[in-house]
Amino acid sequence: MKSNSIRSTRIVAKTTVYTVCIFLSLLSLFPFWVMFMNATRSTFEIQQNSIGLWPSKFLVSNWNVLTGKSFNPLVGFSNSMIISSGATLCAVYFSSLTAYALVAYSWKLRQPFFTFIMAVLMIPAQVSSIGFYQFMYRIHWTNNLLPLILPAIAAPAMVFFMRQYLLATLPLDIVDSARIDGSGEFYTFNRIVLPIMKPAIATQAIFTFVLHWNNFFLPLILLTNKDKYTMPIMVSLLRGDIYKTEYGSVYLGLSLTVLPLFVVYFLLAKHIIAGVALGALKE
């Protein structure tokens, strides 16, 4: 009798677990599903019934309406690509280098420098945005992609992460034996240390890329030339189209911005999630 009741409570419990999990999964999917489907439906269809579970056949006409309103997704896409990949390269390379400096060498200011990095770890760029804007305005760097890329060289949080990773994985013997073989320090870092850091770099690269891809605040205040617009800025323009509500194209515009993220995410989902977990443990 007892084992029976335990079994039945377990069945109830398991049913609850699965129901909740399925519900939450649907909660993640539903908005995007509606978005993708509505991107293929006409404004009229959407106004009749705004939840379409299956695609319709107005993708092309929505595309034409969208691009007809000076919405050029290719420009936004390529700018976002340049910024995100540039920033990612800068961030992972120089953070690894700085972390290596913190781990492999004993220098007098090492500990103070590291304490400093920890202290500025969470200072967000946003609080200094007024000064940043005025600074960029004075040196005529507004409408330039560089102020959105170069600051990534100094990424305290990533330095911190990379340092923790190196502490856990880098055998100092390797560095020493490289020295004995006559390898220069810089060469050692590039050819021996960086490959060791590959897993850490890969996860950090993904997150940095996504972070910059999604960045909205700084591009919003810095970029006014539509040839320099990033994807999120283009998206923000979809909010207001005074003379007509072209819902199908709005959904299409939204879909275009997230499509690349979806592709990358579902290709790399496992690693991304492992990366989140790794980050949690390291920090």
């Binding site: 939450l24 705004s50 000064g131 949690a280």
Partner: protein, 323 residues
């Protein structure tokens, strides 16, 4: 050998130069600049000259007495709480389920992938998507609720304080609970499994195991999640800005949206925006100090291990050299 290892110290400095330079130019200088602007009369567009105010703290006084700013602070906190409590609760619940050794939830990987997904999507897109989804009188959510019989007539989500804030808080929750869950699961997996085995042998129920063993050991991680979430919460911008522009009646005006509005969407009150930024900065700084303490404690442990290994290494080296 010994002589050589000393001479390498300079590389520590050399390799840190790019970081330090970039930090000075792109972080520290703008930060100090912002501080300075907070004490000046810099307002209006195209103005370049800075004049310090006769009463240096005038901007700060104005900002702290500014009802909109106070409301923004309140909103920011309120929206954060409304998002964080369910975020942590659901994340903990899922963590308990996914790490439960008797449930052995199948398709965990898939669930994690789907639940985490909103975290990587552009928030600007999500904001506008939700603006559209919650449309009135026709919109997917209204249609769905009507279909399910939850409501009789469409709700205008955009003009009521409660629903507007609710949607913003929900989106913040929805974006972040997957992340929190994965962090917490990683924390549980880091706990020594023999503890769970021992508890099971002692006949502890899953509930007891979770509250007596798992939860206490997650304390640091939860604290970490809490503080980082608060720091992030202080800066929420994309969602309230693009969802309803801080409205209705400033119900979703967060501090970041306030600062943006002061500086870029009206009379270009850069000085006041800078002062407001500094107030926000002060709050974040306090939170950062707490975070610093958490991380330092954890780091100290890791570092001790490393120092020991390094010492061993050097000793071996010295021995080798001696031989």
């Amino acid at each position: 050998m010994h002589r050589k290892s000393i001479s390498y110290a300079k590389y520590g400095y050399i390799f840190s130069i790019p970081f330090v330079l970039t930090f000075l130019v792109f972080s520290l200088y703008p930060l100090l600049y912002t501080v300075v602007i907070g004490f000046t009369d810099l307002r209006g567009i195209g103005v370049k000259e800075l004049h310090f105010l006769a009463q240096p703290f005038e901007n700060f006084k104005l900002i702290l007495n500014n009802p909109s700013f106070r409301k923004a602070l309140f909103n920011t906190g309120f929206i954060w709480i409304c998002n964080f409590i369910p975020q942590l609760s659901i994340a903990l619940l899922l963590t308990a389920w996914f790490t439960n050794r008797t449930y052995k939830v199948k398709a965990q990987g898939l669930f994690k992938v789907l639940i985490y997904m909103p975290n990587i999507i552009t928030i600007a897109t999500i904001a506008i998507l939700f603006h559209t989804l919650f449309g009135y009188p026709k919109g997917p959510i209204n249609d769905l609720f009507m279909m399910l019989g939850l409501i009789e007539k469409p709700i205008n989500f955009h003009i009521q304080t409660g629903t507007a804030r609710g949607v913003v808080a929900f989106v913040q929750f929805w974006i972040w609970y997957g992340n929190t869950m994965i962090v917490l699961i990683a924390g549980v997996l880091g706990i020594n499994p023999t503890l769970f085995e021992a508890a099971e042998i002692d006949g502890a129920t899953p509930r007891q195991i979770f509250f007596r063993i798992t939860l206490p050991r997650l304390k640091t991680i939860i604290l970490y999640v809490l503080v980082t979430s608060m720091i992030g919460g202080m800066q929420v911008f994309d969602m309230p800005k693009l969802f309803l522009l801080g409205g209705p009646d400033n119900a979703t005006l967060t501090t970041s949206v306030f600062i943006y509005n002061q500086a870029f969407a009206g009379s270009y009150l850069f000085n006041r925006a800078a002062a407001a930024s500094m107030v926000v900065f002060a709050i974040i700084a306090v939170l950062s100090v707490i975070l610093f303490q958490i991380l330092r404690d954890k780091d100290a442990a890791l570092h001790r291990k490393w120092e020991k290994a390094e010492q061993r290494h050097r000793r071996a080296e010295a021995k080798e050299a001696a031989v």
